[in-house]
Amino acid sequence: MTTDLELIEAARDGSVDAFTELVHAYRERLLRFLVTRCASFADAEDALQDTFINAYRYLHSYDPQWRFSTWLYRIAIRNAARHNSGNVTELGDIADSEGDPLSTCIKDSERTNLWSAARRVLSDEVYTAMWLRYAEDMSVNDISGALDRTSSWTKVNLMRGRQALEAEMNRDDSRSKAYG
């Protein structure tokens, strides 16, 4: 089985097929993240395409001391911010609109998806740190690298994010019990 590093080496030598394999390995994970960060599904798709284009173009600058997914996320975060900067609506507002890409991608459930609540109560950076930690299982160091922050900042904000989401989770649980 070919590893990421072997595929990266081949892609650096100009192999589109090797890079396409990397695209197939990471596209759904990245799109799931981008759907939670962009104002529309089309924006998320555009951001995903730009992420892979930028990654392929600047593949020589990838440092193998980082995980490839960390590097890709770093590019994706930047592209998501760029796509959102042109929109008038804030991320917190789109949860109520029918065009919210996240609500259309969440399975029908009796309880609230915590990531919807997270988007409402957390700042963009803290939300991203929480996503990378709990949805992607990234280490604190990798998250710091992806967000270009210190590990102290990451630890403190992960803790704050946890506290905020625990409060949301408890509120949701008590609401479920109240309605039987």
Binding site: A11, R12, G14, V16, F19, T20, V23, R27, E28, L31, R32, V35, T36, E45, L48, Q49, F52, I53, Y56, R57, Y58, L59, H60, S61, L102, C105, I106, K107, S109, N113, L114, W115, A118, M130, W131, Y134, A135, R162, L165, E166, M169
Partner: protein
């Protein structure tokens, strides 16, 4: 794993996305039209001749400095340039004044004064010699 982490993981997995074949084709088409940029921060490579030339230049400069320091000798104080604070004041030329003065005849009193001082000095010397003789 704590309750919150498990819930966040499950909720993330509940977000379903499908990458459409159209998007896949778009990405593939974009990639084929792109040439990866070559690394720009690569250090320029020099031939061995460059390093030899640099070394020889450095060595020659060092030898020249040593030779100048050892053969030049100590510089004389006269050759050291001294910063001058004197400024030349240019005055306009004045017409010569007619001076009418006579030479003072003060030679005799001064000679008298000088001989008095010399005799006082002689007396003082004799007094000091007498004191020294008494002490030792």
């Amino acid at each position: 794993m704590d309750k919150l982490a498990a819930r966040l993981r499950k909720d993330a997995a509940d977000i379903h996305v499908d990458v459409s074949p159209e998007l896949d084709n778009r990405i593939r088409a974009s990639l084929t039209g792109i040439t990866p940029e070559a690394p720009s921060d690569e250090k320029p490579r020099h031939s061995p001749l460059f390093w030899w030339a640099s070394s020889l230049t450095g060595l020659a400069a060092a030898v020249a400095v040593i030779a100048i320091v050892n053969t030049g000798g100590p510089s004389s104080p006269a050759s050291v340039p001294v910063a001058s604070t004197q400024t030349d004041i240019v005055l306009p030329e004045l017409p010569a004044l007619p001076l009418k003065a006579e030479q003072a005849m003060s030679i005799s009193p001064l000679e008298q004064e000088l001989s008095d001082i010399q005799s006082d000095l002689e007396k003082a010397r004799e007094a000091v010699s007498e004191d020294v003789r008494q002490i030792f």
